[in-house]
């Protein structure tokens, strides 16, 4: 395996036009690498552009600008037959598998369809491969003759996974694959996905609202807010010490399954604003408790926290990465004056500066 990432996303932008002339920037200047056999967890609130990014990478939606290199090939330049061939290497699993199934086909045909489209297999070979992926997806052969509507939700998702891995892809976008499943079933599906990755070296982009599922499966974390990637880094490091205020707010909102937990939450004011006609500057500025004048004047900076390549950890904000010590004190401040206005918080931080 070389150091070259399997998937290189560079400055990818996708804008939708809403109404007459309003612009909705769904994905804004996103750059991200995915290496072979690795999982990148993509998280963010609803409307942050996660799903659009996943779709653009697979060219299910055409981007406005930017570059997507897959296995060294510029995907956005591929057309017709070469692109169709490439599709056997990249797959997607949706939140609701039924949306991707023809309800009148039997499970056997659903799983073998991509094989028939991409390979010229004999009947026997086809049967053999279907059996193989069925086992890989931990499915009972008895489902083969069922129609997808007749099997359980979890089994439907297993069928979707089986279909996705049938052509031995190198890369799968998992768009909330456990979103509709009960906890114990979701654990099972995550287990299958992890095992498949270990055995077949498949790279995943794992899009999810369920941050504990993301943590269980991902190697790296990418956090989006209003179309922009605000922080990327190794999963455990970002989870334990996020550097962007939005990452901190999002990750500290996760309710831990531990009644003794004492974790404090960073609270942003208000809710995610509409992504239509965004002002220049940092998209978080209107909600951020640490906002400064420079935040709304220009585009947010790109701050490297540490590492390179697969270990790279960066964020698009100055304050937290500049002043890690203050964050601790700031937490104390937040706790004492929970309803404190932004202005007072800034003063409190400024005060700790002068004391030093």
């Amino acid at each position: 395996m070389t150091d070259e990432p399997l998937l290189q996303i560079r400055n990818l932008t996708k804008t939708f036009t809403v109404g007459k002339d309003q612009e909705l920037v769904a994905v804004s200047n996103v750059s991200l690498d995915v290496h072979a056999g690795e999982t990148v967890g993509l998280v963010g609130e609803s409307g942050s552009g996660k799903t659009t990014l996943g779709r653009v990478v697979l060219r299910l939606t055409e981007p406005d600008s930017g570059e997507v290199r897959f296995d060294g090939v510029d995907l956005l330049k591929l057309e017709g037959e070469p692109m169709r061939k490439m599709r056997s290497q990249m797959q997607i699993v949706y939140q609701d598998p039924m949306l991707g199934f023809n309800p009148r086909m039997r499970v056997r045909d659903i799983i073998s369809e991509p094989l028939r489209l991409h390979f010229d297999l004999s009947r026997v070979e086809l049967q053999k491969r279907v059996q193989e992926v069925l086992e890989l997806a931990d499915l009972d052969p008895s489902v083969l003759n069922e129609r997808p509507g007749a099997i359980r939700k979890a089994q439907q998702q297993q069928v979707a996974i089986a279909r996705a891995i049938a052509t031995k892809p190198d890369f799968i976008v998992l768009d909330e694959p456990t979103g509709l499943l009960d906890l114990s079933v979701s654990i099972h599906i995550i287990g299958i996905l992890r095992r498949l990755q270990e055995e077949q070296k498949i790279a995943y982009i794992f899009i999810s609202h369920d941050l504990s599922a993301v943590r269980a499966i991902s190697h790296r974390l990418a956090i989006m807010y209003l179309g922009q990637l605000v922080e990327t880094g190794p999963i455990e490091e970002v989870f334990s010490r996020p550097t962007h205020p939005y990452s901190e707010a999002l990750l500290s909102s996760v309710l831990l399954p531990d009644p003794r937990s004492t974790r404090e939450r960073l609270r942003l004011s208000g809710e995610i604003p509409s992504p239509i006609n965004l002002p220049p500057g940092c998209p978080l500025a209107p909600r951020c408790p640490l906002v400064e004048d420079r935040c709304s004047s220009g585009p947010p900076p790109l701050v490297t926290i540490k590492g390179e390549g697969q270990e790279a950890w960066w964020s698009t904000c100055f304050p937290l990465s500049d002043h890690e010590d203050e964050l601790d004190k700031w937490y104390g401040t937040l706790h004492e004056h929970e309803s404190t206005e932004t202005e007072e918080l800034r003063k409190a931080i400024a005060a700790t500066h002068t004391e030093d």
Partner: protein
């Protein structure tokens, strides 16, 4: 112009002790021909949050509908005693139940804006609730009260939101309106049916933190159905795990998370264990003591559970005997 929140209802004085006691509740689905609940039981004290955990189809929502006596027609109650403050709910007439609903026992439904009337403003839907229980009050009075309730629930600019239609609200805001509707008459017992499902974690934390503080302040009891271990651990005092219509484990929240007995509970918690090991790093930063009232124990020594089916592990901690 701050009006007082509606006074606690007339029926009971100071709230203390057991509020609701359910025993041997069995519900049968006539169309699907199966037991929805099979001998379920619970006991809730004033101010207690009971988490009813289970997966979809386990019967946890049906329990709430049975308590408020709004079961679907095809679900038949085959047995069960429901004692609300010592009064048998099954003996109440429909009219008496109508009086009770909203005023004493209220339900918080999920679904955000889709569970609100789309052609009425958020405010008028709360006024409707108030009006049905306080028909003699003036309209302006009720409106002031409704705006005050919106403020208490943590809705910014309550005057503006009062006039908003559901489609103008975000999902989190619409869910707060549904909470406001349930809390409008300051009921003693709230029934929450997985009502934060579908909200982003940030909004969920905002909504639940505020709501939970309000419950504590008013000493209101809550039965919350959930499949989220984080919600269970963070906001519940007592956990009941229900599987295939049967309560398999019933325990104070700490006992449940630290000493789960039933194999199904252990399965659910296996994922949580992993998260807990990781979280040690996260907590290095915080040395703030947890809200002590959360650890406050509601130990139910005499749960209405059949002794031949349930083993007592510790005070208030019961586990259903498993077939080997």
């Amino acid at each position: 112009m701050v009006t007082e929140a509606p006074a606690p209802n007339a029926a009971g004085g100071a709230a203390s002790g057991e509020i609701l006691r359910v025993s041997d509740l069995s519900l049968y689905h006539l169309v699907e021909d199966r037991h929805v609940l099979d001998g379920a039981f619970l006991s809730v004290d004033a101010g207690e949050v009971l988490g009813f955990m289970g997966e979809s189809g386990s019967g946890k929502s049906a329990l709430l509908f049975a308590i408020i006596r709004l079961l679907a027609r095809e679900v038949q109650q085959r047995s069960g005693d429901l004692l609300y403050r010592g009064e048998d709910l099954m003996q109440k007439s429909n009219r008496q139940m109508e009086q009770l609903r909203g005023l004493e026992i209220a339900m918080i439904v999920p679904g955000g804006k889709f569970s609100l009337n789309p052609v009425e403003t958020a405010g008028s839907q709360i006024v409707d609730v108030l009006k049905s229980h306080f028909p003699d009050k003036k309209k302006s009075e009720l409106e002031d009260e409704a705006i005050e309730i919106l403020r208490i629930i943590g809705i910014p600019d309550p005057h503006i939101r009062f006039r908003a239609y559901p489609h103008e609200l975000s999902g989190g805001m619409a869910q707060r309106i549904l909470i406001a509707k349930a809390m409008a008459c300051a009921p003693q017992l709230l029934l929450g049916d997985e009502f934060t499902v579908g909200l982003d974690v940030t909004i969920q934390a905002q909504v639940m933190d505020h709501f939970h503080a309000l419950l504590r302040e008013r000493n209101t009891s809550l039965i919350l159905t959930t499949s989220d271990l984080g919600i269970a651990a963070t906001y519940c005092d007592t956990i009941a795990v229900v599987r295939k219509g049967q309560v398999v484990e019933y325990a104070p929240v700490l006992d449940f998370f630290e000493n789960p007995q039933h194999s199904y509970s252990r399965l659910l918690l296996s994922a949580a264990r992993e998260a807990r090991a990781q979280q040690k790093i996260d907590e290095a930063r915080s040395d703030v003591e947890r809200d002590p009232s959360h650890g406050r124990s509601f130990i139910h020594e005499n749960l209405p559970a059949p002794p031949d089916l349930y083993k007592t592990v510790a005070p208030g901690h019961l586990v259903r005997v498993e077939d080997e």
